[in-house]
Symmetry: C4
Subunit: 202 residues, 4 copies
């Protein structure tokens, strides 16, 4: 089977996930700037963070399927597992926001990030196995240092929120999650040089 | 008429159905793990179950239209009937979840599953009739044992929820519905062997 | 400009419109069949009616753009006007349902139907003018008796809800609206005979 | 990388943004025309305004990518930034509406318009730089007088809402925003003459 419908369906799901998060933004009850900042300020920030995360995954998915010509049942299911993990972002983002960055919701957000990153790795490996020994994707992924660094940062964030008491742990965790975003968004000169290198997000 | 827009429209509807169910997940009021498990735990499970069901249908739809080259008005309407049945999943899933797996919502969920499976069979037959005596889809479907087993399991689930008193009937019904999912998700060696065999879900 | 993105965007909007109406279906508070029928029964019927209306428009849009090869700015805007009218269906459907089929919401629903039908006619005419004297669409549309009958039925429904006192006027109006649906859904032998004849809904 | 998935993903996001705003329209509590006009009248107008804005952007995006053959990482991110700005319209539109056109929400709406227009300019420039010295887009954009006039009108609207006391400032701001819409929707004879000239919205 060709990849066109897998790409179209994934585009649809990711477009919805990235957009419905804005539905969680509650309109402030007052009409002043202070009402906006008080009620919705952190909501806008977490929305931005999750928007960029989904954007990174869409970019990477786009790059990856650029090197895929045919899919089988295993690829379809691994892709659905990734979409399932990503579809939980509106929920985990909303909980982080409504709890005012409490410990447990931040841990759950990190688990969501980690589960998505692992689902991406599984999808990548299923495709590489399907492509066989001359896999174009395997050569493009290479040692995948950025992908591995993301997994480490996700785990570090989860652990710091779990183990370090007080707000420090939560802020350190958020720092880890933002670092992953920065690592992927800041332009990587190699990417445009090796124009067809697919990227793996965290 | 070609199939591209039918596929694109179906992809769009299924992407939305599979994604908006997550909007039904209410953010827990507290900030602890117990709040998450208490309020949202079963919600996550029913979301997962319905996500996988829609995923199965998308996979099967993908396989089926792979063998279709042209559509007529009858195919368009049979396809819309299937999409209508599937679009009710967010509603029936939410009722099952909010009622805490009460008898009537579970029966309705089973009826939704059964109606979707029947709509799929109707769509399949409309396409086969449209393709004429040398229908590629008819050869691919073959005896459709998996499809028939799903219908039987759906009916068995509905009947057990209706007829067996107490929680046992409800759990037996859910067991039937999960069994259908497992039957379709667990890789079927024949599918990749007969690469173009379309699948029919329950 | 080619039509592919116009079709893709319209498919996206119609897929969303047809699907988000199910979000309006409120989960019943009780767990019995009577709760479902009492709270949600008419909701399911109005959802079905509007789903079929949007389905008719999608079918007709599909047929119409089958005969269009290039679009200009006027076509894009006429298409957006049609999508705007259709995007109001979730709102007018919900009002009809929540008011328990009160007079004014039923009139508004009819106005929504009429506005959509007129927007469709405008789009058709803009395309025909853009295609020039040998317009394939003009030949396909022919005398467009079905389209004109739909406009008459829409106006008749609006007037009967406005002018005939008591529930009779409302039910007559709903009868007109259902008659339009039946007229378009019931297979028209000419459509498959003149395979490329585009349809215009009401 | 080719542009097809960028276009498909953008179409998906814009289709959702343009459609979910209708979800913000609350169904009136009464069943009379006065209830509709009282509760939802301005909502319909702001929905229409934002619908047309998103429609303008979709049209312009459509024109612009018509002249683009390949994209790189920078184009993908500039495009995501534009989609992020546009995805905030349902939120800012709802606040304007619920506040009854209070000063701060109107300013925020103007900031949203301005940010979207700037993101569009950035995307345009990133594409032009990527296309190199013979950029087809650069030639098509030309002096981009309409784009510059839009930026001026957006800033004028924001300033008038901020600086002119009383309702006059708010209404002047809304006048500026409507003027931008009119400028872009009213057919521009040059556009169809120079058929491939891409447009830049405000």
């Amino acid at each position: 089977m060709k990849t066109s419908r897998v790409e179209a369906f994934s585009d649809g799901v990711l477009a919805i996930v990235i957009t419905i998060m804005v539905l969680e933004l509650r309109v402030p009850e007052g009409h002043e700037l202070s009402d906006l900042l008080g009620m919705t300020g952190t909501g806008l920030l977490t929305y931005l963070l999750s928007f960029v995360y989904i954007g990174i995954y869409w970019n990477s998915h786009h790059h990856m399927f650029h090197l895929v010509e045919r899919v089988n049942g295993g690829v379809l299911w691994a892709n659905l597992a990734l979409l399932f993990c990503l579809s939980l972002f509106p929920f985990t983002t909303a909980w982080v926001d409504e709890s005012g960055f409490a410990r447990t919701p931040v841990v759950l957000y990190g688990v969501n990030l980690l589960a998505s990153a692992l689902a991406y790795v599984v999808l990548q490996n299923v495709i590489i196995r399907h492509q066989g020994p001359d896999s174009a994707l395997r050569q493009a992924v290479g040692r995948d240092r950025k992908g591995k660094a993301s997994l480490v940062l996700d785990v570090a964030g989860i652990l710091s929120a779990l183990l370090i008491p007080g707000p420090a742990g939560v802020w350190l965790a958020l720092g880890c999650f933002v670092a992953v975003v920065v690592m992927w968004v800041v332009p990587d000169p190699r990417i445009d040089r090796i124009a067809r290198r697919p990227a793996e997000p965290a």
